[in-house]
């Protein structure tokens, strides 16, 4: 079973529906016991970094996410769910992130329209398991901030919007995407299938 962490932010149903669509046993849950027993964990997130981090902390589920990452079970952060894995964000400098991936979240340059609300291509690293079998990696982004990992080797997909940025990371069991696989049509479903297979 794949647990999607429900900490009360935004539209979390779409990740659940998309995983179910590819045949995964996915459950949206705010129950720490369910997250602890899940084979894999998805950390979604939309909106403001600070608001998401505070909601995760006040929901009491921060420990569950940390435990899942430490356990070696597959984890997937999506959008702000990716950003929360980092040390902190310029969007909410006073709010620490989870610090599971070293690095910081920064605002995209203002010479492009922000947010980036667009489909964009990803330059995929050969070692990527997430993108395995995907020939034309067009995915859907909605964001104004991007993650700058301290170690660029964790990045398995790069995109460009005003600057080059990390579209996807795979750091051992912790995977994350700045884009929304659950909204990226057949490509996104293929990625979720790859994640679900990892969790099986």
């Amino acid at each position: 079973m794949i647990a999607i962490v429900d900490y009360g932010i935004g539209n979390l149903r779409s990740a659940e529906k998309a995983l179910q669509h590819v045949g995964a046993d996915a459950t949206l849950t705010d129950d720490p016991r369910v997250i602890a027993s899940a084979a894999a964990v998805v950390v979604p997130g939309v909106g403001h970094f600070g608001a998401c981090m505070e909601a995760l902390r006040s929901s009491g589920l921060e420990a569950s996410v940390r435990a899942a990452a430490a356990s070696g079970r597959p984890m997937l952060g999506i959008c702000v769910g990716m950003q929360m894995l980092f040390d902190g964000s310029d969007e909410a400098p006073e709010t620490p992130g989870l610090g599971l991936v070293a690095g910081r979240v920064r605002r995209l340059p203002a010479d492009e329209k922000l947010p980036q609300i667009a489909w964009n291509t990803v330059d995929v690293a050969a070692r990527s398991e997430l993108f395995a079998g995907v020939a034309e990696p067009w995915v859907y982004f909605v964001h104004s901030y991007v993650c700058d990992p301290a170690d660029p080797d964790v990045v398995t997909g790069w995109s460009t919007y005003g600057r080059r940025y990390a579209a996807a990371i795979e750091q051992s069991n912790v995977w994350a995407t700045q884009f929304h696989p659950e909204k990226s049509s057949h490509v996104g479903l293929a990625l979720l299938r790859n994640f679900a297979r990892k969790a099986a």
């Binding site: 935004g10 539209n11 149903r13 779409s14 529906k17 998309a18 669509h21 939309v46 909106g47 403001h48 608001a51 203002a110 329209k113 922000l114 947010p115 980036q116 609300i117 667009a118 489909w119 964009n120 291509t121 034309e136 067009w138 859907y140 982004f141 909605v142 964001h143 104004s144 460009t160 919007y161 929304h180 659950e182 909204k183 990226s184 049509s185 996104g188 479903l189």
Partner: protein, 257 residues
């Protein structure tokens, strides 16, 4: 590099897709979920559902449509029409919509844009602006914001209003020319350019598309980041894939269908 989005717009009345009196291919009217899935398969980048239901007791019908679309269609979609409060927006987002679009409600209560943006993030908040030229032949006279399908003039200058709602927290603007809507004469490119230049967020062009050349002009001359159209898709005149091939041939970057 990102791509220009092609956005079919579906007018929904009492749970069914409808479009105008000139509707010729009735099989396309049908079920919003079936139509949404077809557009996804054809390569649509996003969808807009406009709830044109007049009576508020039909709102739950729209909510049910949104839930069904969210279960089966995995591209982003916006819901507009009759969303008057943060609570209305929250219901649509919880049901599975990715974004909500405010139009009349934002004119009546501009702070609603700020409240919705603070609650859900600017990426969830689209403001739809219906604009009409003060002088049909002279763009230098500017555009006025209108509501209720053009029946109500607001006195607001469309360009100033666009900048104001972005300041309040709109993450995207859906700009419709009421002079062109339904005419198939093409977008009002001067309106698009003026709003694009005055704001920092993506602009969706709407109103007046009759040919594929109009879509190209919306991007290359109007500076739009996304092009929205209804009738050219619903009438079976063109598929989304044909659109994209045409835009690509004109040098516009699109996601391949």
């Amino acid at each position: 590099m990102s791509a220009v989005r092609i956005i079919p717009c579906l007018d929904v009345d009492a749970g069914r897709v409808v479009k105008g009196v000139r509707f010729v291919e009735i099989r396309d009217a049908g079920d919003p979920v079936e139509l949404a899935a077809r557009y996804d398969t054809e390569g649509a980048d996003e969808l807009v559902f406009l709830d044109i239901t007049a009576s508020s007791d039909q709102r739950d019908t729209m909510l049910h449509v949104v839930e069904r679309v969210a279960e089966q269609v995995f591209i982003p979609f916006t819901v507009g029409g009759g969303i008057r409060s943060v609570d209305d927006a929250r219901r649509m987002l919880r049901a599975g919509a990715d974004k909500v679009s405010f139009n009349t409600a934002a004119v009546n209560d501009p702070d609603l844009v700020a409240r919705a943006s603070a609650e859900f993030g600017d990426q969830c908040v689209v403001v739809a602006i219906d604009a009409r030229r003060r002088d049909a032949d002279d763009a230098s006279m500017g555009w006025e914001v209108v509501t209720h399908g053009g029946r109500t003039a607001t006195g607001l200058d469309a360009i100033e209003w666009a900048a104001e709602v972005v300041r309040l927290g709109a993450g995207e603007l859906l700009v419709t020319s009421m002079d062109r809507d339904g005419t198939k004469a093409g977008y009002d490119l001067e309106l698009l350019r003026a709003i694009e230049a005055a704001t920092t967020v993506p602009v969706i062009a709407s109103g007046g598309v009759g040919t594929l050349e109009h879509l190209v002009a919306g991007v290359t001359e109007g500076g739009a980041h996304a092009v929205l159209a209804a009738s050219i898709f619903h009438f079976g005149q063109h598929t989304v894939a044909e659109d994209k091939a045409h835009l690509a041939a004109a040098g516009v970057r699109v996601r391949p269908a």
